[in-house]
């Protein structure tokens, strides 16, 4: 991936609406043919970022660079990017074929060429034979496919997708995730994808950009983001985790819940307050007397592949995933291997 040249570069982008800062000094580049996901809770600024790239919003400060050229003030219809909108925004007065042909007609392409390309697109999104249908007669998933076809037919350099699967049911979402990913690989187009669904982001992306409150918290591959979250917010947002306040005693030794734990992190200094993150599946349940921590099982939920137990140790309740069930009320010991203890700096207040 990393050999590919940079396509889009957001340089010190900030955006204010009526005195409220929605984006605060965003710096981000997107490489050619990359599948990048902007991930974050609603209101974190991910959609605004996408709209700035699409040309629908103008940053208050900063520049948008496209292949080295400044396109900050370029109107949307001159940009070589296309967008798949939330809830599709298909044109209800046009049928499926005319919706897809919309961009091509503007380019004054010949009729034959338009027909050829539209048919190719209908095939690509598995909607051959639907050309004459009215868009209102299509299901949500079908409309989604047409919206994608309508954008892709223009052969954009970058496809922007704003929560494109948000309105679909779970099963359809999963199918479409796979289809989108394979379409992206097949066509070799850069995808910039916005979602609040961390699972979707982990499944599809080459690179995930985690955002909150107008800031970028972490940029990395799905694996890095999951395994080495940069702070408690990312850890909490990506997957489930236990986050506990602790103190870094010295390199490779952290203290929390009154117990010293060996870990693999270093460079925090001595006796520094830190956030400690442990994934629920990384906690091992042992006999009462042999764990590093001792606690009481407060509740048990069956989750399909595993049980989720809430285990109270002193003043902290741990969430633990395990395939073996411990009855409520029983005393257990807990142990965590050093590799699974993630140490991070406590979060700045503003990014919480």
């Amino acid at each position: 991936m990393s050999e590919q040249p940079r396509m889009i570069y957001l340089e010190n982008i900030s955006k204010e609406y009526d005195g409220v800062t929605v984006l605060d000094d965003i710096n981000l580049y997107i490489r050619k043919k990359e599948f990048v996901t902007l991930l974050g809770p609603s209101g974190c600024g991910k959609t605004t970022t996408l709209r700035i790239i699409g040309g629908f919003e103008y940053p208050s400060t900063g520049r948008v660079m496209f292949e080295g050229k400044d396109i900050t003030d370029m109107p949307p219809y001159k940009r070589r990017v296309n967008t798949v909108f939330q809830k599709y925004a298909l044109f209800p007065h046009l049928n499926v074929r005319d919706n897809i042909a919309f961009g091509l007609k503007i380019k004054k392409m010949s009729r034959g060429e338009i027909d050829k390309r539209v048919d190719k697109m209908l095939n690509l999104v598995n909607m051959a034979g639907y050309g004459k249908r009215s868009v209102d007669s299509l299901s949500g998933g079908q409309q989604q496919r047409i919206a994608i076809a309508r954008s892709l037919v223009n052969e954009p350099e970058v496809l922007l997708l704003d929560e494109p699967l948000g309105a679909l049911d779970l099963k359809l979402r999963k199918e479409m995730q796979l289809e989108l990913k394979s379409m992206q690989q097949q066509l070799g187009i850069t995808f910039l994808y916005v979602t609040h669904d961390q699972e979707e982001a982990l499944t599809m992306s080459d690179t995930i950009v985690v955002m909150n409150a107008g800031h970028i918290l972490q940029i990395g591959t799905p694996k890095t983001i999951y395994d080495e979250p940069a702070n408690a917010f990312v850890a909490n947002f990506i997957g489930e985790s236990n986050i506990i306040r602790g103190t870094m005693v010295r390199d490779e030794l952290v203290n929390f819940s009154g117990v010293d734990f060996p870990c693999v992190d270093s460079g925090f200094g001595e006796n520094t307050p830190v956030d400690v993150v442990v994934r629920p599946e990384d906690i091992v349940i042992l006999g009462e007397d042999i764990g590093q921590l001792t606690g009481t099982v407060k509740s048990v939920l069956f989750k399909g592949v595993h049980y989720e137990m809430m285990i109270e140790c002193g003043d902290f309740t741990w969430k633990v995933h395990s395939t073996t069930m411990q009855p409520t009320g029983s005393r257990v010991g807990l142990s965590i291997v050093p590799f699974n203890i993630h140490i991070m700096h406590p979060m700045k207040e503003e990014a919480k």
Binding site: F56, Y58, P75, P76
Partner: protein, 329 residues
């Protein structure tokens, strides 16, 4: 009026206005950024300023000036006391003593009170007749709504003045209703030229404006709400006045507005069906402008009317803060 000529600057003003209009449209289309679409409303804003706001300001201006353009409250004094000017003139000619013999003329205030009372009656009757009609129209089981809306609109295609005149044929001494009454042996009755005839004419003309908004808001109601109420143990009547009626209130309010307002100011109906016996406020405004040619007093009367309506509207709007009342559209 015919002696007034277009002023020399009129063509220029129109030319500049037109150029500004075209310029603004062109400007708003040429702009790259979608945001500037709000400029599309510029010609309309200009239009509404010239033809709605400016005229309102003019009414206020004329209301507070006399025929020579000097500031005065006399027009309002004349509203309160129609003999005011006469008395003041007498005072300058013959002194205070003679002036005191002229009693207060209450005709304008009386007319206003009477008009408000008639408009109130008309609104009340329209509501009583119109609510059930709207309710039955919105009845999903009968599926009559859309057809009935059209059937309510069609009579309005017959000229409003002629529709009112037609009632004369029905109500007059030799009219159809009296003929019928005579035939069944009750004998003739005086049906025209009284308050009831005016009320009938008003209700007849304005009833659809009560029915439409109520129907619109009723047909927007989720039928599940009524079902839920019944599920929770309300019988049909309780459901009606605990659920349906309160939820249709926005429609009722806009219906009341749409009936009350034209009722207070109508001048044709009382003139035709009331035979000039019952004068209403619209009638008064019209004759002050057209017959007496007193624009200043006429403006003062219009201003009073407008203020009264705005006050009552703002009170009504309180009950419908979202302004969701369905219009006739």
């Amino acid at each position: 009026m015919t002696d007034l000529q277009l002023p020399a600057w009129a063509p220029w003003a129109m030319g500049i206005g037109l150029a500004a209009f075209i310029g603004m449209v062109a400007l708003s289309v040429r702009r790259n950024h979608g945001v500037k679409r709000s400029l599309f409303a510029a010609p309309y804003t200009l239009w509404m300023f010239i033809f709605t706001l400016l005229p309102c300001i003019l009414i206020a201006y004329y209301a507070f000036t006399d025929a020579n353009g000097h500031f005065t409250f006399n027009n309002f004094s004349s509203f309160w006391d129609s003999n005011y000017i006469m008395r003041e003139n007498l005072r300058t000619v013959a002194g205070d003593e003679m002036a005191a013999t002229v009693a207060r003329g209450s005709v304008n205030v009386d007319t206003l009170v009477y008009s408000l009372w008639m408009a109130f009656l008309c609104t009340a009757v329209s509501l009583v007749l119109g609510y059930p009609a709207a309710l039955f129209m919105a009845d999903r089981k009968m599926r009559l709504g859309p057809t009935l809306v059209v059937l309510f609109i069609i009579p309005m295609w017959m000229n409003f003045l002629l529709r009112t005149i037609a009632w004369m044929s029905l109500l007059e001494d030799n009219g159809l209703i009296n003929a019928f009454l005579q035939w069944i042996g009750i004998g003739k009755m005086q049906l025209m030229y009284n308050q009831q005839a005016v009320l009938l004419g008003m209700v007849y003309n304005f009833l659809p404006f009560m029915v439409f908004p109520i129907y619109t808001s009723l047909s927007k109601l989720d039928p599940k709400l009524a079902e839920a109420a019944q599920d929770l143990g309300c019988n049909e009547f309780r459901t009606l006045y605990k659920v349906t009626v309160p939820l249709s209130l926005p429609g009722v309010i806009s219906g009341i507005t749409m009936v009350f307002m034209p009722s207070v100011t109508t001048f044709f109906i009382p003139r035709v069906l009331g035979g000039g016996n019952t004068r209403m406020f619209g009638d008064l405004i019209e004759s002050t402008f057209k017959t007496a040619g007193n624009w200043n007093l006429g403006s003062a009367l219009s201003l009073i009317m407008m203020v009264l309506i705005l006050i009552s509207l703002s009170i009504l709007r309180k009950a419908d803060p979202n302004g969701e009342g369905g219009g006739i559209v």
